[in-house]
Amino acid sequence: MVVTKPLSTKLPTPLVRRMFQHGDVPFKIIIVLATLFTLALVVGVGVMLWLFTSVTRMDLGFSFVTSKTWNPTGSQFGALPFVVGTLITSILALIISVPLGVGIAIFLAELCPARLRAPLGVMVELLAAVPSVVFGLWGIFVFVPTVVKPLGNFLKNAFGTSGDVIDLPLFHGPFYGFSYLAAGAILAVMVLPTIAAISRDVLLAVPGSQREGAFGIGCTRWEAIWQVVLPYGLSGILGAVILGLGRALGETMAVTMVIGNVAQLSGSLLSPGYTMASVIANEWGESSTPAYASALLEIGLLLFIMSVLLNLLARLLVWSVQRRNPQQHA
């Protein structure tokens, strides 16, 4: 930056022409503007959604998220069923995908032969590239009928109302396939690559000296991984899980297509429901009144806030690991 100055003093030209010739001042202004614009977008999302939800925020206040009745025609807007639906499906997704994802990360980072690591890693990442709407299509016509239905029926028979094994409210009620269970299962597949890929990177960033130390006192490979490598990268893996959760919370199309879309509060995994994202997507076209639209936008605002908080947390965790060994993170 400093280097350009002497050049311009040697060639005294009018200011405007000099700027035109060298263009550095406009260039700097432009790149700062581009940067500010990017930043403004993030802030803008929050501000705009805040402004456009004044109707429901004024009328309902906090009861918007605590009320369980969603009856738009009667102007009753309680988002609790959707918050609960989002939590149920996301947690179910994590329960399935975290052990699998960490297992994949371990296999890719610690076990698999070097020449298989890249192709297998790419295949896992390609799973993340499959568009949500394609997952949804596959969910409707393939995954739900061939996997979720038999699984749900099994669970219902074993643990449902007066079930064979034990009676769990988690598996009560009628079951038609499209359900929290279906949404959670398809979300698990969708967040799996996120968790696996980031955890793999975290494990690869754990210094080799830690593994040597473990092997050096007679650990088996699994003991070295489970008792030394994983604890070392724990906060990073936690970050990966939170990023996965972030993706699960906001995932829209696939969930909308398999969750059954019913605005009810249910504690059964087998019942149809809504998540926050899917209710917006599914009812947007019907939002005829300003209050209805405002209510849907406010659900979007909640998603925004949750997403920002989760991202903040996840980045802090991932950074904390990478900062601890910068030389390893090439």
Partner: protein, 310 residues
């Protein structure tokens, strides 16, 4: 060290820590113990006493070569490691010192493509033979690394780590083992009041002694030290060297160092390694340390120890 059966636990409390702390005591006679015989194998007769130990090295590499893929990093090394002595491996950088020492507990196995030719005998048993349990070898031949690598756990948990691998043992017993190990690694007085604090907060020298404590807590038979002082300041280095003198009362120690003064100070025997034209490391001389540093047979050794060598 911890064990599954309760009878073995009695053995520990009877013979283990208690004896280590009280000095000599009711020891099972090596000469008659069937266990000793079983472990000593055919090469080391059950009648082996101290005299036999002097004849029979604790470890012995026989025409050992280490390859990384097709590249031969170490060629034809035959090196005896005597019990209760310190064996130093010296030589210019790139001569395969580290590769050699890491082959003594098969740490090289962790590098893809690495394999060994020849034998490494431990008590007359080839550790590269098929059917040998690598995990068991690494427990019997402990290792301390170039840079201290404590786990990000508490000081106590670091020392107890290896012991806990073998199952749950009573807390009192574990406490004893941790204390004994820390005492033997000359760290106890410095850390006894903060055992629950993170090991990462210790100084580099303390961390390295903690790693030594961690290694000896599982009662190895040989301790390998790969340039253990290269990341330490002179004061910390001195402590480690003193510690090595204490530890050699109980263990066979192998140390790799590129600091010739250190080799001269601490070791009893020294192996001199050089890189051949084909870039494989070979051992050009092995002798009593005193001889290596005063009247070596090989001209290259003389040049190296007198500092005339890169």
């Amino acid at each position: 060290m911890p064990i599954a059966s309760s009878s073995a636990r009695v053995a520990i409390s009877l013979h283990g820590v208690t004896i280590v702390q009280q000095g000599k005591g009711v020891l099972p006679d090596m000469n008659t113990s069937p266990l000793a015989r079983e472990n000593a194998q055919s090469h080391a007769p059950a009648t082996a006493g101290e005299a036999a130990a002097a004849v029979m090295p604790k470890m012995q590499t026989e025409s050992l070569s280490i390859y990384y893929g097709n590249f031969r990093a170490v060629a034809d090394v035959t090196l005896p490691v005597r019990d209760r002595k310190i064996t130093a491996i010296i030589g210019p950088s790139g001569c395969g010192k580290s590769t050699l020492i890491r082959s003594l507990n098969r740490m090289n196995d962790l590098i893809a493509g690495a394999h060994a030719g020849g034998k490494v005998m431990l008590d007359g048993e080839d550790i590269y033979a098929s059917g040998i349990d690598v995990v068991d070898i690494r427990r019997r031949v402990g290792m301390v690394f170039q840079r201290p690598n404590p786990f990000p756990k508490s000081i106590y948990d670091n020392v107890a780590f290896g012991v806990r691998l073998y199952g749950r043992i009573p807390k009192a017993e574990l406490d004893d083992i941790v204390e004994t190990s820390l005492r033997r690694s000359a760290l106890w007085d410095e850390v006894k009041d903060k055992l629950k604090q993170s090991a990462m907060a210790l100084s580099g020298g303390q961390q390295q002694r903690l790693c030594i404590a961690r290694a000896i807590a599982v009662e190895p038979e040989v301790i390998l030290m790969d340039e253990p002082c290269s990341a330490l300041d002179p004061v910390a280095t001195l402590k480690i060297e003193e510690l090595m003198q204490e530890l050699k009362q109980d263990y066979a120690i192998v140390i790799v160092t590129h600091n010739m003064q250190q080799a001269a100070r601490v070791s009893d025997t020294t192996a001199m390694m050089m890189m051949r034209a084909d870039r494989a490391g070979e051992m050009i001389e092995f002798d009593e340390t005193q001889i290596i540093f005063t009247k070596p047979r090989d001209k290259r050794t003389e040049d190296y120890v007198s500092g005339r060598f890169g």
